[in-house]
């Protein structure tokens, strides 16, 4: 419920819900109070069926397009908007990416570790802590193609469900399997398909970023579809053991031994806690050799999206308004033609006692009915289609795919209604203002 209210307060969702709700309510009222008038609208729409169909097709296609674009923008907006509570705090190397820190950095931040910083005691628990290391390799030695390369997040299984974004969607059984089998990994659907492996299979990976660290895995399960389709998760203990074994065998540490920790995530309850904890960590002398920075997840993701800023600007400021403008023009053109063709009929209606307001409502109603229904159909259809294939595959930063949110079911009708209203208001006003004497003078 909290989540629903939080999403509802998003300006786009709120405006969409208000528009769609208001039009649906007005339609329902008309249907109940003036059923004959409603039937007249339907008859009018059916009379020039080709034109109605063309408007509907244009609306469906363009609303579907805007829904796709807005899905990407909405998701990125969500992940870069700071939440009021349940902050995720990211600790990374201060001055460069990829962040590479010594493993001891994690010890100072782990509440279960003896080296845990005294100043942090009681500020968060072990359930609010997780580490990330990135291991990449190829399943065929010497081959570096998309079909042979796999990347894994090395993390402790017990942190997956509690800390990862959408982690609760990963079943507890799979996590248990990873705990029981150190070589057990979870792979995303697309990655599994790319490397042509199935759940239950074993395979070897030859390290690319960790040269000389070759690992043997068993796929114990598939990650939920969507965000993690191209990802893989391995047990951090196995990763760390492999680096330790390398040191024993080669009598020297791996070149990346002291750079094996990429990120630390902490969860804090609010902004004030974030500021306090961030301050303590950034100033801690234990991090002076390899300085760290502390930022919120939203700000960290925002930094990565900086390179896409102009592209996102094109999508948001240029593409979406242009498509909506085209929809308005198409509707305006069709409705104004329709009104011109029906001038005599409108004059007769006025003679029969229809008031100008009713004529205005009739034309607007026809347009809103087509727009709203087409928008709903477009949003529903595109949501069903795209989500059934695991989301819109348009990789941006580290997001490989975007699932269309349920809120699209409000965006679609709202877009359809808004563009229908804007496109048909002037023609509807012209219809309202038809002068009976002028029309009959011309007919005569």
């Amino acid at each position: 419920m909290d989540r629903f209210l939080e999403d509802l307060l998003n300006p786009v969702n709120l405006v969409a819900a208000l528009i769609a709700g208001a039009v649906a309510l007005a339609g329902a009222v008309y249907l109940v109070m003036r059923p004959k008038f409603f039937r007249l609208m339907l008859k009018n729409l059916r009379r020039n069926f080709v034109r109605t169909l063309l408007i509907a097709i244009a609306t469906v296609v363009l609303v579907a397009m805007v829904t796709l674009i807005w899905t990407v923008l909405y998701f990125l907006d969500q992940v870069t908007t700071e939440r009021a509570k349940d902050f995720k705090l990211i600790v990374t190397e201060r001055w460069q990416i990829p962040s590479q820190m010594p493993p001891t950095h994690a010890n100072y931040l782990d509440p279960d570790n003896g080296s845990f910083l005294a100043d942090l005691h009681g500020r968060y628990t072990s359930n609010d802590f997780m580490t990330w290391s990135f291991y990449g390799g190829t399943i065929e030695k010497g081959s570096y193609t998309r079909e042979s390369i796999v990347f894994f997040f090395a993390m402790r299984p017990e942190h997956i469900r509690s800390m990862m974004d959408e982690g609760e969607s990963i079943s507890a059984d799979l996590v248990e399997k990873m705990k029981n089998n150190r070589r057990g990994v979870l792979l995303g659907r697309d990655r599994m398909r790319q490397v042509n492996r199935k759940v239950g299979e074993r395979f070897n990976v030859f390290g690319l970023n960790y040269k000389g660290i070759d690992l043997e895995y068993e796929i114990v399960g598939q990650l939920p579809e969507g965000r993690y389709d191209l990802s893989g998760i391995m047990n951090a203990d196995y990763f760390n053991e492999s680096l330790d074994q390398y040191k024993q065998q080669k009598k020297m540490p791996h070149p990346l031994d002291q750079k094996r920790l990429n990120l630390v995530w902490l969860r804090v309850k609010d902004r004030a806690s974030f500021n306090e904890i961030g301050n303590i960590i950034e100033k801690a002398s234990v991090f002076s050799q390899v300085p760290v920075k502390v930022e919120t997840a939203s700000s960290g993701i925002g930094n990565f999206l900086e390179a896409y800023k102009d592209l996102l600007w094109i999508m948001k400021t240029l593409l979406v308004p242009t498509i909506l403008a085209i929809m308005v023009l198409v509707v305006a053109n069709a409705i104004s033609i329709s009104v011109r063709e029906r001038r005599a009929e409108i004059a007769v209606m006025k003679v029969l006692g229809f008031r100008p307001g009713q004529i205005l409502n009739l034309v607007l109603g026809e347009s809103l009915l087509v727009g709203g229904l087409s928008g709903l159909i477009a949003a529903g259809a595109i949501m069903g289609m795209i989500n059934s294939i695991g989301g819109l595959k348009f990789p941006i930063a580290f997001f490989p795919a975007f699932l269309i949110p349920e809120w699209a079911l409000a965006w679609g009708p709202a877009m359809g209604c808004a563009t229908a209203f804007l496109g048909s208001f002037v023609p509807a006003w012209q219809a309202r203002s038809v002068r009976v004497s002028e029309v009959f003078a011309k007919v005569a």
């Binding site: 363009l62 460069q96 990829p98 070149p255 900086e306």
Partner: protein, 432 residues
């Protein structure tokens, strides 16, 4: 897939077909004046349709210019004779780590013989350490960070010669370890804008990463390559301050030509020993591999363009259906006067194509205004890594022709069904 070229063929073909029909038909033609008057009568609907087409074409030209700018950047980066050496298995400089102790004279003779030497007998080669630095945007509140690309170079003049980089102003940094930077033209503009001026100037002092006071020693001439988005500094500083002691990211060597580069890349990759193993790419291949993002954007743009065009096509269809329904009697008269069905079809198709073409012309003109406009993006191989780039939108004659052809196609496709409907009207029935 060259989309503007395909559009050009399709649109040009349609225009040719229409012109051919119109000129080759043995009977008299429906006078163009008739179409002009008809459009004048319905000027508002024609105008609205043309505006819809204008919007579609303008946005498609703009977006295609964006991808063309990215393409041009990846194509222009890298000398055909250069070979880039990364650590074995690496596909990106960001994740590559090669030993600083390596000497080019360790290569076998066949490789050494192919590497070009300078007048002083030195290998025309460079050792480079590449890092992506977190840069705090000055005066930003709340604090904003961006990632900037820094390349540590051992011999800047030699590296500049190797990469075809020239300085627009200033000089190369000294090798004394004093923090001095040479900025690419793109990054100089970005940093300048942070400080409220068009570009950073020589002598300015800027903060990048852990070093608070970098003195700007030089600014590169625009090269249209990804190097224009980089910061070049002395290698020792990068190695010391970014945890890369005794390591480089890549070596670059120059061979005589593209064929030699290919051969040397192959020989170097195959020549592995216990103490050295490289993954070598010709520089052109390496940067061409960074076009995965371009391909992704290109596919997205084609998809968006097709969908938007459907909107434009439907706008034309609605207008032309209305035009036909209002001219049923006209069409009956024309048929009785002896004009054939095909001439009626041509007459209406020409009308819809011209409306769309006018929209297309205005759309292309609007799009063309953005030629050379600078924007930021990212290029990557799609396997991690990638480079932020400052690119210039590229709008050339082919793109304009492609845009016009798309408009002609929209007019042709949109007008076809109403024109066929008009063509099939029976003269006597039309006049009733």
């Amino acid at each position: 897939m060259n989309v503007p070229y395909l559009l050009l063929v399709a649109g040009g073909g349609l225009l040719g077909l229409l012109a051919g029909f119109y000129l080759a038909l043995p009977l008299r033609k429906v006078p163009i004046r008739y179409n002009v008057r008809s459009v004048m009568v319905r000027w508002l609907t024609a105008l609205v349709t043309a505006v819809a087409v204008t919007l579609v074409i303008a946005i498609v030209v703009f977006m295609t210019a964006f991808v063309k700018g990215m393409d041009q950047m990846t194509e222009n980066t890298g000398h055909p004779g250069n070979v880039l050496l990364l650590s074995d298995g690496a596909t990106d400089e960001t994740f590559s780590r090669v030993s600083a102790g390596f000497s080019f004279s360790q290569f076998s003779s066949p490789i050494q013989n192919k590497i070009v030497k300078t007048d002083e007998g030195q290998f025309l080669a460079s050792k480079e350490v590449y890092v992506i630095v977190t840069h705090v945007v000055p005066n930003s509140s709340p604090v904003k960070r961006r990632f900037v690309q820094m390349r540590g170079i051992d011999q800047p003049r030699l590296a500049a010669k190797l990469h075809g980089i020239e300085l627009a102003t200033g000089d190369w940094f000294s090798s004394t370890g004093v923090p001095e930077v040479v900025l690419g033209d793109g990054v100089a503009k970005t940093f300048g804008q942070d400080l409220g001026k068009p570009s950073i100037q020589i002598g300015d002092v800027i903060e990048i990463g852990p070093i608070k006071q970098w003195k700007v020693a030089g600014i590169m001439k625009p090269s249209g390559s990804t190097f224009g988005s980089e910061i070049w500094v002395h290698d020792g500083i990068v190695q010391e301050r970014f945890g890369r002691v005794n390591a480089y990211s890549a070596f670059v060597v120059r061979t005589a030509n593209a064929a030699d580069a290919k051969e040397v890349a192959k020989l170097i990759t195959e020549e592995k020993s216990a103490d050295r193993a490289f993954q070598a790419y010709t520089e052109r291949d390496y940067y061409a591999n960074l076009s995965a993002t371009n391909d992704q954007f290109r596919i997205a743009i084609v998809f968006v363009a097709v969908v938007m065009s459907i909107g434009g096509v439907l706008g034309v269809t609605i207008t032309m259906f209305a035009a036909v329904s209002q001219r049923v009697k006209d069409i009956g008269v024309l048929r009785l006067l002896g004009y054939s069905r095909w001439q009626i079809l041509c007459c209406l198709l020409v009308e819809s194509v011209v409306i769309a073409l006018i929209g297309g012309l205005i759309g292309c003109a609007i799009g063309a205004c953005f030629n050379g406009y600078t924007m930021n993006s990212i290029v990557s191989s799609g396997q991690g890594g990638g480079k932020s780039i400052a690119l210039k939108l590229v709008i050339d004659g082919w793109l304009i022709l492609g845009g016009l052809s798309a408009a002609i196609l929209m007019g042709g496709v949109g007008g076809l069904i109403p024109a066929v409907h008009a063509m099939r009207l029976k003269p006597l029935e039309s006049l009733r």
